[in-house]
Amino acid sequence: MTTSAVQIPEPREITTEPRLSDKVFRGVVTTGGLSSLVVLGLIALFLAYRGFEVIKQEGLGFITHAEWSITLDESANVVDSKFGLSAMLVGTILCSIVAVIIAVPISVFSALFLNFYAPAWMKRILVAIVDMMAAFPSILFGIWGFLVLMPSVEYWAKLINKYLGWIPLFEVKPYFFTRSPFVAGVVLAIMIIPIITSVSREVFAQAPLDRIQAAFALGATRWAMIKAVVIPYGRSGVVGGAMLGLGRAMGETVAVYTVLNIVFQVNWHVLLGAGGNVASLIILKFGEASAYEIKALMAAGLVLFFLTLSVNAIANFIVKRTGKSGR
């Protein structure tokens, strides 16, 4: 076979002209597929449009000031208004970080339990319970949290304050523990544990069997195997799951509203019964809001939208990167 004489031809271009029915089909499906793009775009557009006036008037103060007040005269004209979200934003972040800090270790442990410790029958039952908990409505968590969980959590908060009160974060002055960001964080943690657990469980389940066996064949105990194989493999997946949980915690409305005392003052003390939350603010103020305040709430919604969108985008990016590198 002489290779020099052979002329390598250009690859032929293969074209197919779809039939009309297929063109229609593809058109319809593509339109449907693009709807998510349209909806997300419209959300940003309309909230920005409605909230524009307020954002323009408040400027950067909308996210740096803590005060939220509006004064109307008798004919419902706005006399004076001050809208600032800083207390609400700080509260949102505080509650959701408390939630993630509590939820991640518990979720990772229970995902490990499901994958590597539980017998098959127990795993089946527990997976069903976890999946079902993820589908529970938030109002259920809210009311249960308020009536059942809150007294216990307050007791724990007092214990933390008693022994760790010297840390500024756990300071409580005045001595008031009811409906604190910590309580809201615990309720949120219980809500996002199923989410992080199922993401972690799926990531851990993909840990390559041959490496797991290699570790066991080298005389590893179960934990040594997990540390050497499963954790390095699943780490970024767990981080992604935690970010998804964080996004969910930040956008949660009803459950937080029921257990959180909303105060328009920036408060970093988790155990103190004074918190803030953007989503709950909207529910709190919506009922009696004037037209102009509604616009401020729309602007607050816009801020929340971008906050959760960026957290989710980062989460997706991390989870996707895990899938690609195949580790």
């Binding site: 290699a214 080298l218 050497a228």
Partner: protein, 290 residues
Amino acid sequence: MIQTPESEKTMSSTTPSSLASVAQAKPERNGTNSAQGTGLETRGIHAWFGKNHVLSDINLDFTAGSVTALIGPSGCGKSTFIRTINRMHEFIPGAAMAGEVLLDGKDVYAPGVDVTKIRLQIGMVFQKPNPFPSMTIGENVLSGLKLAQLKVDNKDDLLEECLVRAGLWTEVKDRLNTHGGSLSGGQQQRLCIARALAVRPQVLLMDEPCSALDPGSTLRIEDTIRELSDTMTIVIVTHNMQQAARVSDYTAFFLSDGGPGEMIEVARTSEIFSQPKDQRTENYVTGRFG
């Protein structure tokens, strides 16, 4: 590397006489005293997956300091058998077994035996190279020590020794701190052998260690196996009869006729390939089936 295709070509034209001559080309060995311990024996090993009886009554003594090859068609229970030896069988849900595996006269399945200690004494190399990607080459070799929390005086010496014995030292000595994923398939498999050696096992089980590799890498690993067998007991499962002829001192033929896998015959490798006692063995090694 260059002579590889040549040697493969001659051997791929399978005739019993060529296999027998390959088997006889090695120096005759009975196992040497330099190997640690007194050896490995199995007594009446059966294995089940759920209700499925896959392996029946295997009695096999492995001589210390020798290589034993397990050959036979797919599904005859060879891999299951070696996985019962180091207790990897029990990871499969529904698995069960019967019989005894005696290491230095002690049953590895006896109550109260620490299974992790057993696996330290009986190392294993898998079909697909499986280095830990999160660790460097050096860390991979020493990973067994870390996993089992063993202390060793001089890690660098051990690292070098294991890599030398696995025939990988010259290729990787300048990049011990790079990740194992950058190695070729054959190098990765030798890295896995080095990793298994680092905990100083008495026995090394190899489950088709070359089936995922190219012919050149296969020969390198076979050389390594020959060298290692001076100091340890090696059991190798292979589909490749030439490989069995090239590396092993003893060969056991496994077969399943629809029921559980059984061991048909075990003998010196040269005998199995030149004058097998059982007709079925002869049919298999002459390529009439399988």
